[in-house]
Every structure is written in structure tokens, then in C-alpha cells.
């Protein structure tokens, strides 16, 4: 009797499992599960896995800056503002700093804009320094670890190097006070001074409503082979392929830009002013395979998203042979890339929607932070031990903000 009941249980279990597999297979016919080096983590829910304490800084560090220039809400670096808003009302927020795993400092360092809307990084080091001085003197948590359990959002061009020119940024290096903190930034390049180990790379902010309002039915056939709209630095592409009918490239942005991307098979994402580009986000949202022409680039959420399986990497020196490279990709590989791109969790992970939705970029940042837990015992310093050099860096940075 017992044997038969066990047998029944076993059969029931196996049937259940097989059913699950079948379900996965059916789903897999349309899209494919995204599984990066960290595993199948895009759909993880960070709630319950970490607690974040948000420092209450005076409004001159955040609200007042935004009031002075509300354009900061729409530019590529708006992630720092939206992340603050998200954390304030998120279930991972804790009001008790003793139980917090991570500490967040809401300082908008990328909101000093020129009349043209470009952010100037010259005051950012002083602003950051001033904020850190504030939190280290008013709360004991900074000094406890010298910032190792704190994270900062530094979305500007070269992250915490705080400069838009690469040479200058390398010269300055990452702000010394942020040596131990975790940085969340858009900049990602291997073996670069301005990307330190353990940083979380995020996509630049792209307005989600604007992109979603330009969606066309997915049954419209993709009839453009390679699509690109952008500016002069892509001259290598232009010079080589302007007469090639397979390449729809130009410097002018038409009004049908988003619709055109949905009718293209490949979208070029070449090296920009800084080695990231909103083109990547747009290509993913619109299901166009991104062709990444940027040597050594580190793409957003690189441990959660297998970019080599999704996009095509082309070395900058191989640009003249772009057509050969793209046409020699086997069709099964192309179809697989499209299936991966069609996965809604992939698209969701690139967006900063408001209000926040499960699986979006905010949640991926939290997942990334959660994966770094628990903190190593060594981050907690002994009493009186000091690691950071508060007087390091250019003299101009040491002036009060």
C-alpha cells in the first residue's frame, strides 16, 4: 500500500515537473530566457534581500538643484534623480539605519547644465565631497566602513572621475573619497581608471513613455538590414557604407526614427562621446539586434545579461568589413538573438519607468547590490582605523561647496 502511494506521489511529481518543462518550452518558442554569468537573475525580486537606508540630506544637494534646472529630469543622466525617488517609496527602504545593508546618499552631481543642456562636472567633486563630509559627521555609518557599504549614483560620462574629457578624467581618477564605495554609473570600459571593480553599470536614461508611444505591430516585416542615425563621429561607418543599399545610415534624425528601428534587423551602436549610447537601449526596446562597435566596453548589468548572445560585437578596426561580418552570421544565431531580445524582461531591464515596475532597471540595480551581500567582514574598520585620504586630489576639489 505504502509503495503504491509513494509510486503515485512520484508519478504526480514527475507529471507536474514535465508539465512545467512543457510550459517553459512553449514560452521558449517565442522568447528565450535570459541567463547571464550571474544566472537567471533578471526576474529576481530584490524585496526582502536587502535593506537600503536613504540619508536625509539638506535640499541644496538635491531638490534645490532640480528646482533650479528641471531639464535634469529628461536628459540621459536623469537616473540619479529617479533612483532617489524610487528608493524613497520602495519596500527595500528602511528608516532604521542599524538594520540597513546599503546606504544611499541622494546628491545630484550631474544637474549643473549649460544653456545647451550639457552637464558640467567641474563642481561635482566638491559637491560630492561636501555631501560625504556631511554624512560622515552626522551619522556614524560612513566612518564605520569608510563608505564600503555605501553606494552612489554617478551617471555622468566617466563616472566618478567627474570630467567629460577622457584625458582629464583619467588624470583625475576616481574621487579618492569614493575609493571604497560602490558606484552605479553608465560608463563601462574594461581596464579603465574610471571603472572600478564592483561597480554596477546601468543604461542611460531613455524616456519610456516616448519610446512606447512609437511602437508598431510586430507583424510588420523587418525590411531594413542595418539602420543607423547619428552624428559625425561615426564617420568610419559613413565613409565605407554610405553607398551600400543594405545600410540605411544618415546623420539626420527623422521623426520616424523609432518606427524605423522596429523595421530593421541590425542597429549600429558605435562609440560615442563617451563609450556608451542610448542607441543600445533603443535597439533593445525595439527588437533590433545591437551592433556594438566599442572596444572593451562594459555594457549595462553585464553579469545579469549575456550581451555576447544578444548583440554583435565588432572591433573598431573591423568597421570596414562590417557588411561581411554581419552577412556571415548564421541565420539561426540571428533568430536566437531576436528571440532573446523579444523577452519582455530584457526590455524591462533597460528602462527607468515611473512608477517603477517589476524587473526594471531600478530593480536590477537593487539586485546587483543584493548580489554583493553579505558584506565581507573586512569592510568594517576597527576603531580609529582610517583608510581614505581626505586631502588627496586636486586642490580645487578641496574647496568647500
Amino acid at each position: 500500500m505504502r509503495n503504491s502511494s509513494w509510486g503515485f506521489l512520484l508519478m504526480f511529481l514527475s507529471a507536474f515537473l514535465l508539465d512545467l518543462d512543457a510550459f517553459e518550452l512553449r514560452k521558449g518558442q517565442k522568447t528565450e530566457r535570459i541567463s547571464g554569468s550571474a544566472g537567471d537573475v533578471l526576474e529576481d525580486d530584490p524585496v526582502g534581500r536587502l535593506k537600503v537606508f536613504v540619508y536625509e540630506l539638506p535640499s541644496k544637494y538635491n531638490k534645490k538643484i532640480l528646482q533650479k534646472d528641471p531639464r535634469c529630469l529628461n536628459h540621459m543622466f536623469a537616473a540619479e534623480i529617479y533612483m532617489h525617488r524610487f528608493l524613497l517609496s520602495s519596500p527595500v527602504r528602511t528608516l532604521n539605519p542599524e538594520e540597513a545593508d546599503w546606504f544611499y546618499t541622494p546628491v545630484y552631481t550631474t544637474c549643473d547644465l549649460t544653456p545647451n543642456g550639457l552637464p558640467l562636472p567641474f563642481k561635482s567633486p566638491r559637491m560630492m565631497r561636501s555631501a560625504i563630509q556631511l554624512i560622515s559627521s552626522n551619522w556614524p555609518y560612513w566612518n564605520r566602513t569608510e563608505g564600503a557599504d555605501h553606494f552612489f549614483i554617478v551617471p555622468h560620462d566617466f563616472g566618478a572621475c567627474f570630467h567629460y574629457q577622457e584625458e582629464k578624467a583619467i588624470e583625475r581618477g576616481i574621487l579618492p573619497l569614493l575609493q571604497r564605495a560602490t558606484l552605479v554609473q553608465t560608463f563601462g570600459q574594461r581596464n579603465h581608471v574610471c571603472l572600478k571593480d564592483g561597480s554596477i553599470t546601468v543604461p542611460p536614461y531613455a524616456p519610456p513613455q516616448k519610446m512606447q508611444s512609437h511602437l508598431i505591430p510586430p507583424s510588420i516585416p523587418r525590411s531594413i538590414f542595418v539602420y543607423f542615425r547619428g552624428l559625425g563621429a561615426r564617420a568610419a561607418v559613413w565613409e565605407n557604407f554610405k553607398d551600400n543599399p543594405l545600410f540605411d545610415i544618415s546623420t539626420e534624425h527623422p521623426t520616424t526614427y523609432y518606427e524605423d528601428m522596429q523595421r530593421a534587423v541590425f542597429c549600429l551602436c558605435p562609440l560615442g562621446w563617451a563609450p556608451w549610447s542610448p542607441r543600445l537601449v533603443e535597439a533593445v526596446i525595439f527588437g533590433c539586434i545591437p551592433v556594438i562597435i566599442a572596444d572593451d566596453i562594459v555594457l549595462p548589468f553585464a553579469d545579469a545579461i549575456p550581451w555576447e548572445d544578444i548583440g554583435v560585437y565588432v572591433d573598431e578596426k573591423d568597421v570596414p568589413n562590417l557588411d561581411t561580418i554581419l552577412t556571415s552570421i548564421p541565420t539561426e544565431v540571428i533568430l536566437r538573438k531576436q528571440r532573446l531580445l523579444a523577452n519582455p524582461s530584457m526590455k524591462q531591464a533597460m528602462l527607468f519607468p515611473h512608477p517603477a515596475q517589476p524587473g526594471d532597471a531600478f530593480h536590477q540595480i537593487l539586485n546587483g547590490l543584493a548580489r554583493k551581500l553579505p558584506h565581507d567582514k573586512s569592510v568594517y574598520l576597527r576603531k580609529g582605523e582610517k583608510v581614505l585620504n581626505w586631502t588627496a586630489g586636486p586642490l580645487a576639489d578641496l574647496k568647500p561647496w
Partner: protein, 527 residues
């Protein structure tokens, strides 16, 4: 603002330098070896001022740029152009300064010359622009790319397109006449290009003939060629009636053979877009589409190729293409019908086939409707109760103008093509002149892809010695004066359509033993 500060400090420096330069000038003016020294000093001051001014204008240190261009080595001389992905980058290009990058890169441009790149001096990014020596597309790669796109599109159709497509049952009434080959071939090619199963029921007035059978034999479609006893009448009214009866006959065939699928009525002279066939797969019982009517209203008394002279405001506002089809309210529900209003057509409409006037459609044509074939099956359990039985509808002498007669409740019609907003089908009746002969032995003037058996050839014999161009062609090199107007026999000075013109030429060519020019001169003397 920082830049203005920078520029200002630079200007200050410049000015102070010039001040310093000015004082030795003053002092040296008194001094002995003054002239050459002061000339050099003046030159230097002027150069400096020039550089300052240029820097002020351009916004960066021009002198530094000159320095680098003159004195730096080629291996590390890579200038970053300042561009941004943001839309306001163009301004940045002007206001931000150039810099040199000191990173180690892959071999300089010299070795690139070995790998056959052109020697472009402009450098962008970290590697400089490499241009291959033959910047033209490789045709094999183009083919590969097209195959890739084909695969992608096929996959798209599988993923997002119609699942389980139903067979199309296409009903076409036809009869043997001059333009039959033209119309039927067009329809045949359209149907051959569909990715769906097609059963083509061709009903021929006057019985099934060999000519039609020969035309149809060239296609790979599944065709049912049915003869219908009566011959096609000359007058359009009667022709419309007969066509309706022929379609009903085809529906009887569907009923007898229990064909399963979607019935659509494709008249042989109509034009169908391929999207139409994807759209009609959505029909459940009976659907309606918008049909564009290729009939133009006012000004048809004049030459269609002449620019309309008296365009009043009303005509301009009128939509140029009348459309028949379903009308919907804002929540996409069928509320009525856009029908064809023949009152708007001020000129005479054609009475008989080949008449030189446009042919007007009925209020709602058959071609704008599609039906599930089960509607006409005998057993009533297959169809909803608001459909009348085929036999009940088909008897009686009244003309069935459109399939709405099948319905007890015409509000059950499904509007297709985004509620009639999309026109994927155009109705046209274009036939050769009534007196155009159609014997065996005339050659097509149009290219055909398959071999035409002898009986259907159009051949001009003897070869025309003089080819007379049509009078009012849109092409500029047409000869100015033509006697074509003179050839008109019924005295109408109306402009003619090109197809009647062509048929006239072909029928003229039939006269085997007369030269065209001789005939023209005869006509002229007659007048």
C-alpha cells in the same frame, strides 16, 4: 560660463603679454639696435593678438593646436573630435576644446596603408577612419543579407502573423473578351503569390471555353473552371446582374463540394493588395472591406491629361477616390455603410461594354465582402441563425446586389481593415471598345512570363511601317500633331483612354494588306 572665464583669463594673459611687449617696444624705440628688434616684437605681438582673437572666436587655445600639429609625432597624434550622442552635440562641437589622447593604440596609420586603406588624414575616434579600397557592396553579401531578411520575416510571420491560415476560396466571374487575358493574368499572379492555400472558382459566361482554359492552365493553382450557360450581355446593367448570378453558381459549387475556407469575390479586373489576404483571414462569419472605386467624377468631359482648368473650392475638398465600405463609430462598431453615390458623377456613365465613359459600380459591390464558406453549406447547424439559406436567396429573379442579402441582420457584419479605414482593394471596369475584334491571332502588347499558345497570340501583321505615337502622352518626346483625333468614328471629340487607343491600334493592325499611313491619309481626306 566656465569657458567665458577661461577665455577671459586667456585674453587677459594676451593683453598683459602685449602690454609687456609694448613696454620693450617703448624702451627699444629709444635704444640703438631698435628697428629690427621692434619689428620682430611688433610681429610677435600681432601674431599673439591674432591668436588671441582666433581663440576668442573658436573657444579653445588655437596656439596649442598649431603647436601640436607642427611638432607632435604621428603615432600619438590622434585628435578627438568632440561629438556627443545627444541631439545638442553640434553646439558642443563648437564650444568644447580639442584634446590629444595619450593612450597607446594599435599601429598608426602608416601600417594601415599596407592593408590597403586610403590615406585619409582625418582621424576620429581612437583608430582613425579606415576606408577600404573598394567601398562597394559585394553582390554575394547582398544576396546573403536578403536571405537573412527573408528568414527573419518568415519567422515574424510565424510568430506574429496568422496562425492556422484558412483556405481561400476565390470566386471570379469572367468571359472571353479582348482584355480577359490582361485581367485574368493579373489576378492569377496575385493569387499565386499568396502564402495561403487557394481554390479558385472561375465561372465563365457562355460556357467554359478553350481560350480561358488555356490561360488558366499556366498557373499552378487549384482551379475549378465552371461554365455558365448565358452569354455576357453588352449592357452594363445586365452584365452586373449576370455576374451576380454567376457568383451564386459558384457558391452552389462551394455548397455541393463542401469547401471549407473563406470565400472572397475577386473580379478579374480588380486590383488586390497582398495585405488584403492577410486581413481577411480574420473574418469569422461575414466581413466587409473598404473598396476604392477607380472612377473619377467631374472634368471627365475634358482630356484627362490636360490640367483641370476650372477647379473650384468644392472639387478640391472632395476626396478624389470614392470608397465603398463599412462605416464605424469611434468604438469601432459597424454603424452603417459608405456606398457609391452615382449622382456625383455628372457626366454620362457607360451603358454598354466598351462605351467611352467610365463604368460605375453598384452601391455596394460583391468584392467588398468576404464570407466563411460554412455560411452556404446545406446543413444549417454549421451557420448562425441570422444567415439565410443559399437556396432561399438564390431563387427569385431579383438581382442579388451583394451578400448582404444573405443576412437577416446586417449589423452582424464584421468590419475589416481597421474598420474600413484601410483600402486594400480597388474596383475598376476597363474593357476594350465594343468594336474591337478578338479573333485568334493578335499579339499581346505586354510582356508575359509564360509561353502563350498560338491561339491566344496577338500579332500585328504586317509589321507596322509607321508607328504613330499617342497624341497626349505624358512623355515630352511625343510628336506634336497626330491624326488620332480624326480617326474617331463616332464623332466624339472626347479624349480617349490609353487602353482603347491601344486596342484601336491593334485592331487597325489586323488589316493585313493596308499600311497604316495610307489609312491615315485616307481618313484625313474623308474629313
Amino acid at each position: 560660463m566656465k569657458f567665458q572665464v577661461l577665455q577671459q583669463s586667456h585674453a587677459n594673459r594676451g593683453r598683459s603679454n602685449s602690454c609687456r611687449g609694448a613696454s620693450p617696444l617703448d624702451s627699444s624705440a629709444d635704444g640703438s639696435g631698435g628697428t629690427t628688434k621692434s619689428a620682430a616684437a611688433i610681429f610677435w605681438i600681432m601674431l599673439h593678438c591674432l591668436c588671441c582673437l582666433i581663440s576668442l572666436v573658436l573657444g579653445f587655445r588655437f596656439s596649442r593646436l598649431v603647436f601640436f600639429l607642427l611638432f607632435s609625432s604621428s603615432s600619438t597624434n590622434n585628435l578627438y573630435t568632440s561629438t556627443l550622442t545627444a541631439p545638442f552635440a553640434a553646439d558642443i562641437a563648437e564650444t568644447l576644446s580639442f584634446t590629444t589622447s595619450l593612450r597607446n593604440f594599435s599601429p598608426p596609420l602608416k601600417t594601415d596603408a599596407v592593408t590597403s586603406s586610403s590615406n585619409s588624414r582625418v582621424v576620429v575616434g581612437r583608430h582613425g577612419i579606415r576606408i577600404r579600397s573598394w567601398p562597394h557592396p559585394n553582390p554575394e553579401e547582398v544576396m546573403k543579407a536578403h536571405r537573412i531578411m527573408q528568414t527573419v520575416q518568415r519567422e515574424q510571420r510565424v510568430q506574429y502573423g496568422i496562425k492556422n491560415p484558412r483556405t481561400l476560396i476565390v470566386v471570379t466571374p469572367t468571359y472571353v473578351r479582348t482584355f480577359q487575358a490582361l485581367h485574368l493574368t493579373g489576378l492569377m499572379h496575385t493569387l499565386t503569390n499568396l502564402p495561403y492555400e487557394v481554390v479558385w472558382i472561375v465561372v465563365e459566361a457562355g460556357g467554359a471555353t478553350n481560350e480561358t482554359a488555356a490561360l488558366l492552365a499556366n498557373s499552378k493553382l487549384q482551379i475549378k473552371h465552371i461554365g455558365y450557360g448565358k452569354k455576357m450581355p453588352i449592357f452594363w446593367d445586365a452584365r452586373h446582374k449576370l455576374e451576380s448570378q454567376m457568383r451564386l453558381q459558384a457558391l452552389r459549387v462551394v455548397r455541393e463540394e463542401k469547401l471549407d475556407g473563406i470565400v472572397m469575390f475577386a473580379d478579374d479586373s480588380n486590383m488586390h493588395s497582398l495585405e488584403l489576404f492577410d486581413e481577411i483571414q480574420k473574418v469569422q462569419w461575414i466581413g466587409a472591406l473598404s473598396v476604392g472605386i477607380l472612377a473619377y467624377s467631374s472634368h471627365s468631359d475634358e482630356d484627362p491629361f490636360e490640367a483641370p482648368k476650372n477647379l473650384n473650392e468644392l472639387d478640391e475638398k472632395k476626396s478624389p477616390l470614392p470608397i465603398q465600405g463599412p462605416a464605424c463609430n469611434s468604438s469601432d462598431q459597424l454603424i452603417g455603410w459608405h456606398t457609391f453615390n452615382s449622382i456625383a458623377y455628372r457626366q454620362k456613365s457607360a451603358n454598354y461594354i466598351g462605351d467611352m465613359a467610365i463604368v460605375l459600380p453598384r452601391k455596394l459591390e460583391w468584392c467588398g465582402f468576404v464570407m466563411n464558406s460554412r455560411l452556404v453549406w446545406e446543413e444549417s447547424e454549421f451557420r448562425p441563425e441570422w444567415i439565410k439559406d443559399l437556396d432561399m436567396v438564390a431563387t427569385g429573379n431579383g438581382e442579388i446586389e451583394n451578400p448582404l442579402s444573405f443576412l437577416k441582420d446586417s449589423s452582424m457584419v464584421e468590419p475589416l481593415g481597421s474598420c474600413g479605414k484601410k483600402v486594400m482593394l480597388w474596383w475598376l471596369r476597363a474593357e476594350a471598345r465594343a468594336d474591337s475584334k478578338f479573333p485568334a491571332g493578335l499579339v499581346f502588347l505586354f510582356e508575359l512570363q509564360f509561353n502563350i499558345p498560338n491561339s491566344l497570340e496577338w500579332r500585328i501583321e504586317p509589321q507596322l511601317e509607321v508607328t504613330v505615337a499617342a497624341k497626349r502622352t505624358p512623355w515630352p518626346d511625343a510628336p506634336p500633331e497626330l491624326p488620332s483625333k480624326v480617326i474617331l468614328e463616332n464623332g466624339q471629340k472626347n479624349a480617349t483612354k490609353t487602353q482603347t487607343q491601344r486596342s484601336r491600334r491593334s485592331s487597325r493592325g489586323k488589316r493585313k494588306h493596308e499600311r497604316l499611313s495610307a489609312r491615315i491619309s485616307r481618313e484625313r481626306t474623308e474629313k
